[in-house]
Symmetry: C2
Subunit: 451 residues, 2 copies
């Protein structure tokens, strides 16, 4: 048996990169043929753009389409812009309708025209159907290759029908049972079909309460449903229960991975689809915006400190200690923010218990505020030999950590209500508040009581 | 057809919570019966501990085991500790061997003993096999219910065999072909089996190069393999290719979701398995450690500032502006850190291109340093009417942002080498470095040139 442990594919890719670097393209052409399209995509994402194009030119036509589907958007776009229009149309044309639908938004108009001209009328209608739903809905995610059968026929008839089809679409773990109006009435598991008797009716082995999704549902709801009910495939229906397609677990795995990627990258102001080999100027520009926003929030904090220049001038120890208050507030708030963002995403936090959670987060924040305020106060007294300063930094920390945790808990709910994504903007907003409250409370208390 | 859109399950759960709150347990008992065990788990995670126990007592025995499997660890442990030992053993005993294996680490010894006493000898051997592998390996993840067949028999024989089995394990999209030594030689797709002719030999429809995993492989490698090659199930073998089990996509979805959860929560110092309704003291304690570490890093920054008290005393504007330098450094560094952590995780960054990426990140950091140093310098000159101060803050920002981005790119590689998880510790380490370099360069330059 050949080396098909996925770990070996990694080794093969590393080998190709090394051999290619040493001996050029001729030395790796035969190795490229051994790669799965997903591995080709991975290889292309791991090498610089100049090498990428040369390797791309040596990928067979019939694997280019699949490779495009697997590539991340940034890398895909550079390849699309460098590839001949007819070659591109030929590669795309070989794909399944739902894959074509995924690629279309990124293709040049000429390529779309050529692809649409070459597909069958039926495929064109299916394409229009899929493209009519937003990309991040069940409709946008669905394949249109659902195999449907009628309830009254026997198992033997279905077996004959499937034999005529010769091969079933990937991830077919169930067939969809529809009435004469193409309304979904149930599903039949393939494993039940294999083990059923020839003369049984389909209705006898039908699950009449299958999990299904409606075309307009959000893809994250779909992903949650697949994860919760351990689905391999599920039917997609219109509002009036007409079967229009199916969603398969591979697409759901992609949704979950993309969402995780997005969450990780967006919280640092990064674009998760960016090619790591994109030109330095392009990367710099895409990150600059985020840093600019951060500069503004840092300036807000500076303005607050600026109001207390006289106070600091009289007691420089304030400047030494003030970052502690802001930083502890920020970290406490981020903890509450993260807990609530996640609770809302998985659904353990909802209208019925939100108030309780807010209260609890605030309590946890103030308790931790108390603990670390005491520690910090003691350190301050030992360091600066100033009891009053210790009391003031302690009080400021309790105020800052309590309000930061309450604000961190409220923020995701407020932002979601106004259509702002808390994953993207929550951290910045929270840090600003923690800085402002931290500097204001510490320096303000000092101004009143110490100077 | 009943309401089986997963969205409706959410509604039903909300309804149960409301009705339960208004009218007590009797009013919701019949509603509970409509819930899938995964939904019961979700319900239990969404209500406070005191209600949880009352609802748990009204869950049928035959759904309690499945519910335990679906619960997060924190909630599961509280229920386990509150449930009678015999009831617990009865609930667990009904589960599949691999599910029992998942629960065993959290069960009291008496329950484990009772469960092991009640299973068959064969199941006990299988349990020992699964438990002999670490939880986060392919072996720990696998089910032991792989259906294997021999290559020489005909399709008709296999169909008869499956009919005798009556039902196939969930997610059976393929059967495993083994020789007489139980060595894996290929796989047969169920969909090929449905459509094949009775008299065909299994060897004719066998894929002789199936993707497989070895028992010791890390679960994240398994997840990457499933995602990349769109697998529903895959065989698990020993080093010498003996078939010992299979992994199914539902477990892989759990691995991917758990990993995403872990990444999100760990980066804020949170335990992703903690019950959101855990007692306030318990939550406070679990978060306090992280805040304590943060306090130490904040104190390090304060010590650096403390060295420059005289300088600040002479020019208080330094105290006003210094948080800007540290904050911009921190944000730039976090961007590089995040890009590299993710590149290492998905494999686009490896030994062959690491140096190039480090250099690039440093370049991006210094370019953005240049842009925002100019902006900040101008703002400083306008604000404080001090050209020298503007030049110094600009220089400090370029130094800090360049070194923070280089450090952010190097850190994940260094930490991984020494067995430290960069997701958990990377942010803290980076912030400390950005603070120290930021305060040191800004105040240091000011001490030399301004005072």
């Amino acid at each position: 048996m050949a080396a098909t442990n996925p770990d070996n594919a990694e080794d093969l890719i590393e080998q190709i990169i090394t051999v290619y670097g040493d001996d050029g393209i001729e030395a790796v052409v035969t190795l490229l043929d051994e790669l799965h399209p997903a591995d080709v995509a991975h290889l292309l994402e791991s090498i610089p753009p100049e090498d990428r194009l040369e390797i791309w030119q040596h990928i067979d036509d019939d694997r280019r389409g699949e490779t495009l589907v697997e590539l991340n958007e940034g890398v895909r776009n550079t390849l699309i812009s460098e590839t001949d229009i007819h070659a591109l149309a030929a590669a795309v044309h070989r794909l399944d309708t739902d894959e074509i639908a995924d690629l279309i938004p990124g293709l040049p108009d000429e390529v779309i025209a050529e692809v649409l001209f070459n597909v069958s009328l039926e495929e064109r209608e299916q394409l229009n159907e899929v493209l009519s739903y937003a990309e991040d809905t069940a409709g946008g995610l669905m394949d249109i290759d659902a195999v449907s059968i009628r309830p009254r026929i026997t198992v033997a008839v279905v077996r004959r029908y499937l034999r005529i089809l010769a091969s079933l679409p990937e991830y077919t773990d169930k067939l969809f049972v529809v009435n004469r109006n193409n309304e979904l009435t149930g599903t039949v598991l393939l494993s039940d079909l294999v083990t059923a008797d020839d003369e049984q009716r389909i209705s006898e082995i039908t699950n009449t309460e299958p999990r299904y999704f409606t075309a307009e549902q959000d893809e994250l709801e779909v992903a949650n449903g697949f994860a919760r009910y351990n689905l391999v495939s599920a039917p997609v229906v219109t509002e009036d229960m007409h079967l229009i397609g199916r969603i398969t677990v591979d697409d759901v795995v992609d949704v979950i991975q993309d969402e995780a990627d997005y969450r990780m990258m967006a919280s640092a102001g990064l674009d998760e689809e960016q090619d790591i080999f994109a030109p330095v100027t392009q990367i710099t520009r895409s990150r600059a915006v985020w840093l600019g926003i951060n500069l503004i929030t840092a300036l807000v904090a500076s303005v607050v400190i600026g109001r207390f220049q006289d106070t600091i001038g009289q007691l420089v120890a304030l400047a030494v200690l003030m970052p502690i208050v802001a930083s502890m507030g920020g970290n406490t708030g981020i903890q509450s923010l993260t807990v609530v963002i996640r609770g809302l995403a998985v659904g353990t936090i909802s209208a019925s218990n939100a108030r309780r959670i807010f209260f609890k987060e605030m309590l946890v924040g103030s308790l931790n505020g108390l603990i670390w305020a005491l520690a910090t106060a003691m350190i301050t007294v030992l360091w600066f030999d100033d009891l009053q300063l210790g009391i003031i930094i302690g009080a400021a920390m309790i105020i800052t950590m309590t309000s930061a945790s309450l604000f961190g808990a409220l923020l995701p709910v407020l932002m979601t209500r106004y259509g702002i994504d808390p994953t993207l903007a929550g951290g910045v907003a929270l840090t600003t508040v923690a800085d402002v409250v931290g500097f204001l409370s510490f320096l303000g208390l000092a101004a009143v009581f110490l100077t």
